[in-house]
């Protein structure tokens, strides 16, 4: 029983990181109707920002480990946001009137550019992510351990998701985002600056990837320039599973994928983990392409 509970905690902690990355995919899809395949690599850059900033921040600010951790996360979020907006401005914006396929291929190119550019800049060998805060066990029985690390991951992820919800549903820019996601043309007729909204969405999505990267790396502290590929793909599956374009869907999809992967690894075999994740993607595309939370949309002919 405790083993099951432990696996549930492992799964939720992994899943909440997937959920954060999936939110970026889903928001960008919601606005622009295309999959930003470079999103996983923005996540990777976030991890390296944390790697380079953590020693500087602890040297110059020297606050409590918790405050330092938050500052490192803020740095990763800001730099990822800037990177996301830059990518959109230079790679995607010039292609906005072109077919969606062109932008999709550009996104794959962008992804490869970041991966291998990262190998050039950061070096291809795995690096050790510094421990941001000492991990101690909160619940510590013979068979069940809940560490501060996994709790911090889960809590931070949920706080960020609630924050995102507030932005999308309670602010003016959030209303603009929703308007643009319904109809670009109508929204621009209502006086909404589409470019600002799109930049904002990229900044928001990329900063969540940056936060996820710092959380992920502090739990699994080995980072390298290709580390974004698999979490990126898993988060993409999560976004599709939840219903791409739907924020709640991304969060739920992330948790489901995290739990499924943990259970497959724990009770079947890690060999099948990726196979089962991708089978879920295929199944959901076959059975309910709009995802768990998605609504059926009829194509207008």
């Amino acid at each position: 029983m405790n083993e099951l509970l432990q696996q549930v905690i492992n799964g939720i902690s992994l899943g909440s990181i997937y959920a954060l990355i999936a939110l970026g995919y889903t928001m960008i899809y919601g606005i622009l109707r295309f999959i930003n395949f470079a999103h996983g690599d923005v996540f990777m850059v976030g991890a390296f920002v944390g790697y380079y900033f953590a020693p500087i921040i602890s040297k110059f600010f020297g606050g409590s480990p918790f405050a330092n951790g938050l500052l490192v996360m803020a740095a990763a979020m800001i730099i990822c946001a800037v990177l996301g907006v830059t990518i959109e401005k230079f790679a995607y914006k010039p292609l906005r009137s072109r077919p969606k396929l062109t932008v999709l291929i550009t996104a794959i190119g962008m992804s490869l550019f970041l991966e291998f550019g990262g190998q050039l800049v950061f070096g291809p060998d795995p690096k050790l992510f510094p421990a941001l805060m000492p991990s101690s066990a909160i619940v510590n029985t013979e068979n069940l351990v809940i560490s501060t690390n996994s709790l911090i991951v889960i809590i931070t992820a949920f706080v960020l998701m609630i924050l995102l919800r507030t932005i999308v549903y309670r602010t003016k820019i959030g209303a603009a985002m929703r308007a643009v996601s319904y109809n670009h043309y109508a929204a621009s007729l209502m006086g909404i600056n589409i470019n600002t909204v799109i930049s904002f969405v990229f900044a928001l999505g990329s900063s969540l990837a940056g936060a996820a990267a710092v959380l992920y790396s502090s739990v699994y502290p080995s980072i390298n320039p290709l580390m974004g590929i698999f979490p990126g793909l898993k988060a993409f599956i999560a976004a599709v599973l939840g219903g791409i374009g739907n924020l709640y869907g991304a969060a739920i999809g992330g948790l489901i994928i995290g739990l499924v992967e943990t259970f497959v690894t724990g009770y079947i075999s890690s060999t099948y983990r990726d196979a089962i994740s991708f089978s879920i993607l295929i199944l959901i595309l076959l059975i309910k392409p709009s995802g768990i939370m998605g609504k059926f949309e009829a194509e207008k002919v």
Binding site: E3, L14, D125, Y267, S270, T271
Partner: protein, 380 residues
Amino acid sequence: MRHLTTILLFPIILILGLGILSCGQKTPENEISIGEYSSLTGTTATFGQSTHRGILMAVNEINNAGGVLGKKIKLQTEDDQSKPEEAAMAVTKLISRDGVKAIIGEAASSRSLAAAPICQANHIPMISNASTNPEVTQKGDYIFRVCFIDPFQGEILAKFIYNSLKLKRVAILKDVKNDYSIGLAKFFEESFKKLGGEVVDSRAFSEGDTDFKAQLTALKAANPEAILVPGYYTEAALIVKEGRELNMNMPFVGGDGWDSEKLIEVGGAAMNNTYFCTHYSAYDPNPIVQNFVMQYKKTYKVAPDALAALGYDAAMLLFDAIKRAGSTDGDKIRQALATTKDFPGVTGSITIDPERNARKPIVVLEIADGKMKFKETIQP
């Protein structure tokens, strides 16, 4: 019509270009070209870096002493990025473009297995410095190694856990994408069961994984007294670290894949109460070892790990064989290598057996107080 010409011309130009390139550089008369393919970057970068330093030190030493057969040794190095497919490309390039007479490499069995058939087909002797999977030298009679093999390593680990640590219930967490890890796990299990021990559970991961909590939670439920992780240092350190977070305080045990300073750098205090067997210890009082350690520290400012010592031994063994062969002909070098007996290496006295494997002693190290410590030496 013009299109057709372009379509036809393009491949012709390409083939011609490649042909010109593949003629390659000719090695000058007074030099012997030796190839090395190593993981200078990638997941096992420290293996390649250390190996390369060891080989380079041997090359400098022999060249300062006048070279081999009156000629200088010229080392050609290729990086395989810790990937088997790159290893195959690297040896192809070394043989066809650089015209090397013999090849040293690789540390990892999966990479050696990818490169060995190419060396065999071209009749170029290959000496693996640290690939312990038995299949490597079975690829052909031109493939040798200077290290012990996994059946021996597995047997020693089984004996060590059963006799020295006196533990009887072991769980295994192995890398299913890695020939070395699968082989070592299998040989350990066979020996351990023969001794009367029990393997209570066995789980898998894949190279490059960072999350092992699900497997570790499952293993923990089987109540093992020790955990065998036959993998490489990057994953091993993360596994032990995550295991300690899950309150798994039993000893973790590994093979020579753990031998890297990065193990303690990544794992930190979690690595205490772990053991691994390897090829040599820098604390061995043997004068050959101490002389090597001193020279290495003088050149590179760090202590040599087992990979550096094996790289050095592989190169020295090769030079010795070329000397005895009196020629750089592939077949003659191969015959000389096959008859190596009691070669005084840094990693122990090396005798090449009829299967082209090295018979030599093994060392067990313990990690305590954040340091690697010499535990015991076990003879074959």
